[in-house]
């Protein structure tokens, strides 16, 4: 992986300004995020931590353009995504964000490389190029020999690595991982975290949501969320950023 293949910005990858999110359930309204301002620069490796119900999942959905925000503004790689339509957001997710989920979310009927090429299908990339880039991404995560395997034939750690390859294949500005090690044993967890370290070293911007302190510890910056607000935001040395 070469540094010049990465998108280069002179502005933050993520710039949230006073973002709130309110869920309406019947007459009851719940404010899950209550005014978050946050900036993440290119190449950062950030962990978002918090107990369940703290609003960290909601924050992750907002960062991932999966859920519209109620008030405030969100610039993703310099692009205002807070007022976009459903289909515009789909395009932003496709181009700018690589997702890694706790459940891997691979399609069981598709071979590894077919799972990896999915985002490229929606981006309208030609078939031969899709195949080449998918195989390349699988090789980068160390699964060059598992290209034709289906998810059912792979271990949990391998499946998560396929998912990471899928997140990498579009060369996105941001890799957003939601509890990526939540379903993995300690060996596989170590593998996946080593892979994230590697990606970070090669200059990727990674945002990782977790509730495990040792996982969060691998990141260079940790943001703690509680009751819909940022409680603490420290770099690895413990200084407030």
């Amino acid at each position: 992986m070469t540094a010049d293949a990465l998108p280069v910005f002179d502005f933050p990858v993520i710039a949230l300004h006073d973002v709130t999110k309110t869920y309406q359930t019947g007459s009851l309204s719940v404010q899950a995020v209550r005014g978050v301002t946050l900036s993440i620069t290119p190449g950062e490796y950030v962990a978002i931590m918090g107990p369940s119900g703290s609003g960290k999942s909601t924050l992750m959905h907002i960062l991932g353009c999966l859920d519209p925000l109620t008030t405030g503004s969100y610039l993703l790689a310099g692009q205002d995504v807070s007022r976009m339509s459903d289909d515009e957001l789909a395009e932003v997710r496709n181009r700018r964000i690589g997702f890694v989920f706790q459940q891997y979310n691979l399609l069981p009927s598709l071979q590894a490389w077919r799972n990896v090429e999915l985002p490229l299908c929606y981006a309208g990339v030609r078939r031969e190029e899709r195949r080449a880039r998918s195989i390349d991404a699988l090789q980068r995560v160390g699964l060059g020999d598992r290209i034709m395997h289906r998810p059912g034939e792979l271990s949990g750690g391998q499946q998560q690595r396929v998912a990471i390859a899928r997140a990498l294949v579009t060369n996105p500005a941001l890799i957003l991982a939601d509890e990526p090690t939540g379903n993995l044993d300690s060996t596989a967890t170590a593998d996946v975290l080593a892979l994230f370290d590697e990606l970070h070293e090669s200059g990727r911007t990674i945002v990782l949501i977790t509730h495990e302190a040792d996982v969060a510890h691998r990141a260079r910056r940790t943001i703690r969320v509680r009751d819909g607000l940022i409680e603490a935001d420290r770099d690895q040395a413990g200084a407030l950023s």
């Binding site: 289909d87 989920f101 299908c121 899928r166």
Partner: protein, 413 residues
């Protein structure tokens, strides 16, 4: 996502649930097979009818006395009961100036009579008519000759007999020149009509069993009485099958004028062979319509089955839909994916149904007497309809899938 890619995804989804997809297709399959058989059955019956029409002369109109519809006074003359038609009516209709679309006219009077030869007798229909009868009824003479104007003018005691009649009376002997006696009048057989075969639709008269005699001979020397001037029917041959309705109108107008009646009080009825045969095959038609109804209901049920399974599929694949949306699928891409899946179900059901329908169309005529015509248009149409059903009943599930929010979809277990 390209169409080809979407199609591959749709096929994959259908193939990954073989049993379920198979059962869903079954509904459409039965419907399409039923449609093809029904259409084949209907067209077979139609083909039979039109070949009979051609046998009888496709340009034929038949005028009968009396009217089967109520007149303005509320009195029904009774179809065929009155004796209001005369030979002069026939002569008037034959005029080119009055009715340019009428090619030929033949009045006819018939009655069941016993024909006697030296050795045997045979009861048949004796038809009194004019020389034009031969062309009007689209018949020909295979042996001897038909009636001539001279026979008619001289009340000649001659007869042209059908092939069945000839066989019954004379066996293998040559009937030409033989003598048959009707009501004490000896008639010389001068010709034998061609064989047309028994007609299913006009079972009351066997067209091969009759004796055709000059109308003047019948009126003056055989039947006598009131039949002297009135005729039972007038056969009209239109110049072409396209001129049939024009001929019908000319004949109606002329007869209204001659009889001094308005159209509502008409004392005659004009029918085409087609309408006679249509009535005769109306039972077939009812059956065909019933089958078509069942086929349509079956297709509807098949469509509902597709919708049902597609809805189940959407619910079951909420995570997949969420993932695809997270990875950048637009609403349109998701909708298209599920629509393609539904139409693949429809198409597969349609093709298999067409196959079974065609197999049925080949096998069925061996089991029942009715002919079944295979119609390529109907088969192609049925497959198109099957795909259409897949699409129509797939729209709602596909739209539901497309509208799922990616976050709700990803959360769903």
């Amino acid at each position: 996502m390209s169409w080809l890619e979407t199609l591959r995804t749709g096929l994959g989804a259908v193939l990954s649930h073989r049993l379920r997809s198979g059962l869903t297709m079954l509904g459409i399959l039965i419907g399409i097979a039923a449609v093809i058989l029904t259409v084949g059955f209907g067209e077979g019956a139609q083909g039979q009818v039109s070949s009979e029409i051609n046998d009888l002369g496709s340009n034929l109109l038949v005028v009968s006395p009396g009217s089967s519809t109520a007149t303005s006074t509320g009195i029904r003359g009774g179809f065929g009961s009155a004796s209001t038609l005369t030979e002069s009516d026939a002569t008037a209709l034959a005029s080119k100036t009055v009715a340019p679309d009428i090619a030929a006219v033949a009045p006819a009077t018939s009655r069941s009579e016993t024909l006697t030869t030296a050795s045997t007798n045979w009861t048949t229909t004796v038809v009194g008519t004019t020389p034009d009868w031969l062309s009007v009824r689209a018949r020909s003479v295979v042996e001897g000759r038909f009636l001539t104007q001279a026979d008619e003018n001289s009340d000649a005691a001659v007869a042209v007999i059908g092939s069945t009649t000839a066989e019954e009376l004379f066996g293998l002997r040559d009937p030409i020149g033989q003598t048959v006696t009707v009501n004490d009048l000896p008639l010389t057989v001068i010709g034998v009509l061609n064989t047309v075969g028994a007609s299913a639709s006009s079972s009351t008269t066997d067209l091969d069993d009759q004796a055709v005699v000059p109308i003047t001979t019948v009126a003056n020397r055989i039947f006598g009485g009131s039949t002297r001037t009135s005729v039972q029917s007038i056969y009209i041959e239109a110049t072409s099958s396209n001129a049939l309705s024009a001929a019908y109108q000319e004949a109606t107008a002329e007869l209204d004028r001659l009889h001094g009646v308005s159209a509502a009080d008409a004392d005659f009825t004009i029918q085409s062979q087609e309408s006679l045969l249509t009535t005769a095959t109306s039972v077939d038609k009812t059956l065909t319509e019933l089958l078509a109804g069942i086929a349509a209901i079956s297709l509807l049920v098949g469509g509902i089955g597709v919708m049902n399974i597609m809805l189940v599929s959407v619910t079951e694949r909420v995570r997949e839909i969420g993932l695809r949306k997270a990875l950048g699928a637009t609403q349109r891409a998701i909708r298209r994916q599920f629509l393609v899946e539904a139409s693949v179900l429809g198409l597969a059901g349609g093709i298999l149904g067409a196959g079974i329908g065609l197999a049925g169309a080949i096998v069925l005529p061996h089991l029942i007497s009715n002919p079944v015509t295979i119609s390529p248009t109907a088969t192609a149409g049925a497959i198109v309809v099957a795909v259409g059903i897949g699409i129509v009943f797939g729209v709602y599930p596909a739209t539901r899938a497309a509208r799922l929010a990616p976050i709700d979809a990803l959360r769903g277990e």
